[in-house]
């Protein structure tokens, strides 16, 4: 059996352990949240190093891809560098591949994504692949990075402006303490009421809300009117939260195991364990090929049934 562990800066309330079979091989996949405690995450990572087959880093991005450029989040790098033996990934390699494919699948095989639909991405610089794929298929995009991270009432409407702002600011912003850019630990369990009220209209006006679930959750107002939520990691509690708020459909880009979808970091770590190659030799084509073999499909859940 192969062991894959996701070490997350997020809440330990979401911890779990499942056994799954992938391509005929048994995997035990577990998650260990560290409640936003950076030093505890370092300690857990050092303890796991050399004892498991692959590690995923959750609750933090290490690499942000914007077209051909890659920006490294300094706090994320510190975590990654604590692991010397076991391959460790943050999900960004897979996100860039998988989430583009999910957009294509949804537009070709369902009515959930159509040209001209209004899509709010609460954050897009952590998943540029999805942001670009949605723009390229003709969606009316609102990239909400400045709205929700900076509190600026400024919707970015084009992929070019998103890239231009990223080029100006990301080289420095990635050096800031990560908790200033993204909710970690207990903050993930609460809503930012001031921003929920102030920016509710961006949610109401959208047909689709896409992006990181913690951010979607943190800013989602009550009284949604059947919107589709396109995201990755959700638990049963999250599904109930979306139902209560009035969302219509949940699409998760990663497969469901025992009632929850896993983060891309977990899936990427499992794929690395399957591939058995040194990380630096794994290419996007390896991921694409493996995704086809695994036949991962987006999970679509009607929240109103």
């Amino acid at each position: 059996m192969k062991h894959v562990v996701s070490v997350s800066l997020g809440s330990s309330r979401r911890d779990h352990r499942v056994q799954v079979e992938l391509l005929g091989e048994k995997f035990e996949i577990s998650r260990m949240g560290t409640d936003g405690d950076f030093n505890r995450a370092l300690e857990v990572l050092r303890n796991l190093d050399g004892k498991v087959d692959a590690i995923g880093l959750g609750g933090i991005d290490v690499y942000l891809f914007v077209r051909q450029k890659r920006y490294a989040v300094h706090d994320g790098l510190k975590l990654m560098e604590a692991v010397k033996i076991t391959p460790v990934v943050d999900g960004s390699g897979l996100k860039n591949t998988l989430e583009r494919e999910v957009v294509q699948i949804l537009s070709e095989k369902t009515d959930l994504l159509k040209k001209g639909m209004k899509v709010l991405m609460v954050s897009s610089l952590d998943r540029f692949g999805m942001a670009e794929a949605l723009f390229d298929m003709g969606c009316d995009m609102t990239y909400g990075d400045l709205i929700f991270t900076m509190g600026m009432p400024y919707p970015i409407k084009t992929i070019n402006e998103l890239e231009e702002i990223a080029d100006r600011t990301l080289p420095e912003l990635v050096k800031m303490p990560f908790h200033m850019l993204y909710p970690t630990g207990k903050k993930q369990e609460s809503q930012d009421e001031a921003k929920v009220q102030k920016f509710a209209n961006y949610y109401y006006e959208a047909d689709v809300i896409a992006g990181d679930f913690h951010l979607i959750r943190r800013f989602m107002p009550a009284g949604m009117n059947g919107q589709t939520i396109l995201t990755n990691t959700t638990t049963r509690e999250d599904v109930e939260f979306l139902r209560e708020k009035g969302a219509g459909t949940l699409v998760t880009t990663t497969p469901e195991f025992e009632g929850r979808s896993f983060g891309t970091n977990v899936i990427e770590a499992a794929m690395v364990a399957i591939l058995g190659k040194p990380l630096e030799q794994i290419t996007p084509e390896d991921y694409q090929d493996l995704l086809r073999r695994l036949d991962f499909q987006p999970r679509i859940l009607n929240l109103r049934s």
Binding site: M150, G151, K175
Partner: protein
């Protein structure tokens, strides 16, 4: 020996910063509802300034203000370097040379504004 910037140099750097901000129509739109008072205080010389953001526009005045939303504190040379755009605030902030008192949301926003003015 530590280099000191003068009060006049800090004033000039802040004027350059404010002028560049006010010439940037996009920044004015982004910050149209961000009304804040920012005090800038040097630690090694007598120098106090206030940047006032109101309805998206920045103005500068000499001296401090009561109850600022943000207080930016550093040595004179670092302050002048930051507001002239010779260095970004990130490194001095992370190494403690630059201290900013205020909410984290406001701090990151001020950093973002600086990067939009002087970034790559």
């Amino acid at each position: 020996m530590q280099v000191l910037a003068t009060h006049a140099e800090i004033t000039d750097s802040l004027t350059v910063f404010a002028d560049n901000y006010n010439k940037n129509e996009r920044l004015k739109i982004m910050n149209r509802d961000w009304n804040r008072v920012v005090v800038i205080r040097a630690t090694d010389i007598e120098s106090l300034h206030t940047l006032i953001l109101r309805d998206g526009v920045v103005s500068l005045k000499e001296g401090a203000s009561e109850n600022p939303d943000l207080t930016v504190i550093s040595d004179s040379e670092t302050l002048a370097d930051i507001f002239y755009g010779d260095i970004t605030p990130t490194e001095p902030y992370n190494n403690g040379t630059l201290r900013i008192m205020g909410s984290e949301d406001d701090i990151i926003r001020l950093d973002f504004i600086s990067l939009m003015i002087w970034g790559e």
